[in-house]
Amino acid sequence: MSTTVIEPASSSGSSPPVGDPGNAAAEARFAQATQLQLTWWRFRRHKLALVSLIIVVLFYLVAAFADFLAVSDPHATDARRSFIPPQGIHLFDEGGFNPHVYGLKGVRDPRTFKLAYTPDPARKLPVRLFARGYTYHLFGLFETDIHLLGLEGGGRSDGIFLLGTDQLGRDLYSRMMVATRISLLIGLAGVTVSLFLGVILGGISGLYGGWVDTLIQRLIEVLRSIPTIPLWMGLAAALPNTWSVTQVYLAITIIISLIGWTELARVVRGRFLALREEDFVVAAELAGASQMRIILRHMLPSFASHVIAAVSLALPAMIVSETSLSFLGLGLRPPAISWGILLQDAQNIQVLAGAPWLLSAAVPVTVVILAFNFLGDGLRDAADPYG
């Protein structure tokens, strides 16, 4: 789509995307820019969205390299290291740079005679970069046992406990890395299903209009007026106990996208209705282009950015849904690890009072949702660079 005539940016209501509006060079640049460039320029001005984009990318990097970043096997239980508070890595030792953590020492409580394991400052265990740990498959393909951090020496129960351990002695930090992967992927998978439903149904609705449109719009209204959590709980609880982790994962994805598509369908329908009357679409029709070609070649590029914005706003909702369901014990089931499952451990106030670090899984949930929301806002503003 070429744009030969473009009014000066300053007169179009919003401020220009680049530099000084009086600058002729900038104006020429603006006039020649592709839509993608314009969108990027406008998006770039939204600083919060830019920062959010970086955060989201970082989160997905963590998801991709979850096992590499983990320090100990997230599934390995060890009763001896139950509820160990978070341990920092001590960077300096006797004046020199020598990162180390303390080993564990069994101490008998003088009153209860219970053996409790606490860090022992006398036993220093050096921390090494790219150390060997448990074996895993990087990207599910390459078998390796290299981890970003690892201990040199030390007993079976010793380890780096950046965020402490849970009741079963599993390292919370390692679990959180792996949980990030599962929680973010389920969001992506859910959005993909929603996107598919939303684009198809919203497209049909906007393209054909008439009773099909009415029917789909009523269906959306009906779906939106149902309280979702009880419904999800009902559907999720009905999944057979015998199902494998993967099957449950897929089923939960479908359940949470069952409602999520409505917003996407609305956006797609709205764009279809708006674009149907546009001159370039009419022109394409008159030129004898097939309907498929009009949709894919002419309409899709102009509403793709709106859909992307809607997707980035739908993703956090998906992540919250999965977290809520798993938190209730109705979503993913252990041994799967997700943020919701980590938070499930923090449900009990007595446990929480003794081990507040279990709440730390709330931090990535909040940060990623916030980042997606800002990103979505920025994308939505940038979606229509000619507006």
Partner: protein
Amino acid sequence: MLVYLLRRIGLAVITCVFISILTFIIIRLPPGDFVDAYIASLAASGSTVSLEQADAMRRDYGLDQPLPMQYLRWVGRVLEGDFGVSMVWRRPVAEVIGDRLWLTMLVSLAALFLTWAIALPIGIYSAVRQYSIADYIFTTLGFIGLAVPNFLLALILMYVGFRYLGLNVGGLFSTEYVQASWSWGRAWDLAKHLPLPAAVLALAGTAQLIRIMRANLLDELRKPYVVTARAKGLSEARAILKYPVRAALNPFASSIAYLFPYLVSGSIIVSLVLGLPTVGPLLLQALVAQDMFLAGAIVLLLGIMTVIGTLISDLLLTWIDPRIRLGGR
């Protein structure tokens, strides 16, 4: 007006039918039927049921008929107020649910009113003093409110209350009133416990509404009639509150329709964390124990109450907004 009313009520009825079908699916989803589960629960407590008895029960509940017929029978029973028997509690479902449904609605409604009460003044302030420090603070708080799922907020609040204030912030009644029958004292006790869960629930909605109110009012404030009002020497408060705020309120009012289902949804999970005597914990127990009649009844009732609530809010909206009343839209 009448056409709109009929259309709106028709839609509500369709929604209810849809919810009932979904509920029926939920009831029927677990493997085996109700009688199987009932026999299993009887067997667990030592008594046995003969095959003839089981078949008689199946006939009695119409389980030998095709699914659509079963659905109609079930709906018929529900319309008569018979939700079946809870397997875990061995009592009629209606009895088990009791007060809890009303308390759920009460918490959700309280959250709704709180949302309004907070969002309205802050929204106006943020729009009138756009880009002031307070505006930025409210916007940031709003975003955080939007991003933190409310059950997480409830968890953090519980922890802070327990750890630093030595309070147990859960529940809707003090211990002496939990089992008591209704009295003024109990109602007052409830009123004292209500604000916290309502506030937890209200936060996300408030954040959204503040943003809507701020955006709407900003649009209105730029219109020439506001300039005219100011030029004619109206006091600032009057020039803002009398017309632009009222015009900005319309989309605000329509937000109840989507806010209410959301609040009811949220109340389920917040109730679980805060230990409120609403249907939330009951629903989870029922689902975990596969007590499907109880779970189904709760999902159905919650859905229908939400639809009714939305309907009422829409009717209120027609009263506020003449454009809808006159069929313009």
